[in-house]
């Protein structure tokens, strides 16, 4: 298996303007020197609390937001150096499913019209029958029927809408799909349906996913590998299935400890962390997690740890990782 996506030192920061004449009063580093790779056919999870830069990272990869520095190699070509025209062609291969199925579809369009739009944008010429056939196939692929094509978004349930959203992302047969919290707005029973649908689609269509979520349990089940983000930086990159045993960053450990398990006997949920995620406004030097870390030492406040291989098999950015 080769690499499909290779991300090197990707950074973006936003200026915050305020005061008289809207001067720049500070900067927020949303994504800070992030590097990782995704293999063909792999599902990579991205986990972190709100404001950690998960969604910005997704937008950077698709170049919906222009980064300050870094590179995004898709199959060896740098997406960031592409011309507008080439980028548009490139987007056929990389699609995104958004978090909120209620606002991702145009409420005035039927599902059919929303699904046909990608073909029009990409200049794919289809006659009337081909269009019908294509859309029917797409709807069937995601477990909807052709009657759903003539429905408007408000006539569908949350789960059905998310299926339609996935169908739209699949319409141009992409190789890579970014899923930004696709189940956050859904009930658990429907979440399980969507996850099973995605599992099946990956097998059948040989897809590669980047799966963004704040639910570590879900990610550890669905993904092959997980990156944990905190305030714009990757703190750990670890095997999803083994995360319970091999995670060695204090933040990852705290996230695992914060999970409320559905087994009443295992009374494990503890408030592992004090306080809350600090504001990303003008980050201090040193480790981003230093202000909440239980194991903090003076080195952590002085020097920023870099992501390096850990003996447990992943990568970790910590001066004093927990290897036991």
């Amino acid at each position: 298996m080769g690499k499909l996506l290779e991300i090197n030192d990707l950074s973006v920061s936003f200026d915050i303007k305020g005061g008289l004449f809207l001067r720049t009063i500070g900067t927020i580093t949303a994504v800070n020197k992030v590097s990782f790779t995704i293999d063909k056919g792999e599902i990579l999870g991205v986990v972190g609390e709100s404001g950690c830069g998960k969604s910005t990272l997704a937008r950077l990869i698709l170049r919906l937001v222009e980064p300050d520095s870094g590179s995004v190699l898709f199959n060896g070509t740098d997406v960031l150096k592409m011309s507008k025209k080439a980028l548009r062609r490139q987007r056929r291969h990389m699609q995104m499913v958004f978090q909120d199925p209620y606002s991702a579809m145009d409420p005035r369009y039927t599902i059919f019209r929303s699904l046909i739009e990608p073909f029009q944008i990409q200049g794919v010429k289809l006659n009337h029958e081909e269009r019908r056939k294509k859309i029917d196939d797409l709807l069937e692929l995601v477990g909807l029927s052709s009657e759903h094509g003539s429905a408007y978004p408000h006539e569908l349930s949350g789960g059905q809408k998310q299926r339609a959203d996935i169908a739209r992302a699949l319409s141009l047969s992409p190789r890579f799909i970014i899923l930004d919290e696709p189940t956050a707005a859904l009930d658990v029973s429907v979440q399980a349906q969507i996850i099973k649908l995605l599992e099946g689609l990956r097998e059948r269509l040989n897809l590669t996913f980047l799966f963004i979520s704040h639910d570590l349990s879900l990610v550890s089940y669905f993904c092959d590998r997980v990156i944990i983000m905190y305030l714009g930086s990757i703190v750990e990159n670890v095997s999803a299935h083994l995360i319970g045993k091999t995670a060695c960053h204090p933040y990852t450990r705290a996230l695992i400890a914060s999970i409320f398990k559905t087994v009443p006997e295992e009374n494990t949920a503890t408030a592992a962390l004090e306080g809350e995620v600090p504001s990303p406004f003008n980050l201090p030097s040193g480790c981003v997690f230093a202000s909440r870390c239980k194991y903090v030492q003076s080195l952590c406040r002085e020097q920023t740890p870099i992501l390096k291989e850990s003996p447990a098999g992943g990568q970790v950015a910590c001066h004093f990782p927990l290897y036991n």
Partner: protein
Amino acid sequence: MSILQVKELQVTFVVDKKKVTPIENVSFEMNAGEVLGMVGETGSGKSLTAHAIMGLTSLVGGTIGGSITFKGRDLLLLSEKEMQSVRGSQIAFIPQNPMTSLDPVYRVGNQIVEGLCKQVKIGKRQAKQQVIELMGKLHIPKPDRVFQQYPHQLSGGLKQRIVIAMGLCANPSILIADEPTTALDVTVQAQIMLLFKEMTRTRNIGLFLITHDLGVIAQVCDKVAVMYAGTMVEFGKIREVFNSPRHPYTKALLQCIPHIGMEKGSLAAIFGNVPSVDTYPSGCRYHPRCSSSDSLCEESPPLLLQIESDSRVACHHYLGKKD
């Protein structure tokens, strides 16, 4: 001795000249010093049950059947004026979103004091002192400073603690919390949930916790009520319900939740969608999605059977079966 007893609660509304019953057949008891969880998917009637207990459904045109007994008095028989003396001071409510339930133009401390003075005869200065003390007990750092701040200056977790302080300030015997942590991050959720558990024990109140998160229920509650499409399908002690669920819905719901270390492909899903209030099926409301339903389930709705003193189940197929 239970402080709250809900018996055969039913709420009906008339919509477009058609009668709909978003809540039917809900019965449970709650004791002091105990956390009672209510879990269910969207539209299962969790919040409406809470509103019914608070006496708010009649205000929006609903009719309530059954009985809600609080400390020996049936709340459904009280006049609106009598209910006002119960609401807030004896049964307090914590809404879902702390971001929208605080007034942005008032200092948070004064917002708590305002509520306290409405419910208890107390001087302003004394009230302030009490509120700061309470804020300290809720682990708010530097409570006298936070007292003076505006909502936008506080983080989500702190705002939720302020809203909890508002609920607790008049020393209620029952606290109803409607999805109090859905807007918060996981690490903060853990802090707030443990705080709830601590408050229930130390103040000996009954906490009625509404959530869709079965993990929260398993870790925080003593008893759980499982709701589906406006009916109660199962009620019981936390360990019993989680270890040997009696209702097929509870069983299926528990299998829908992924956990760390779970084998790939082993996640189960419940087929179909949660019905909405105007499309409730006949008979058992769960039967179109149930794997063990038969003609009886289609025809008649099951009764909520009391099995032991603390457990109930509403399923035709539970009768006589004991494994």
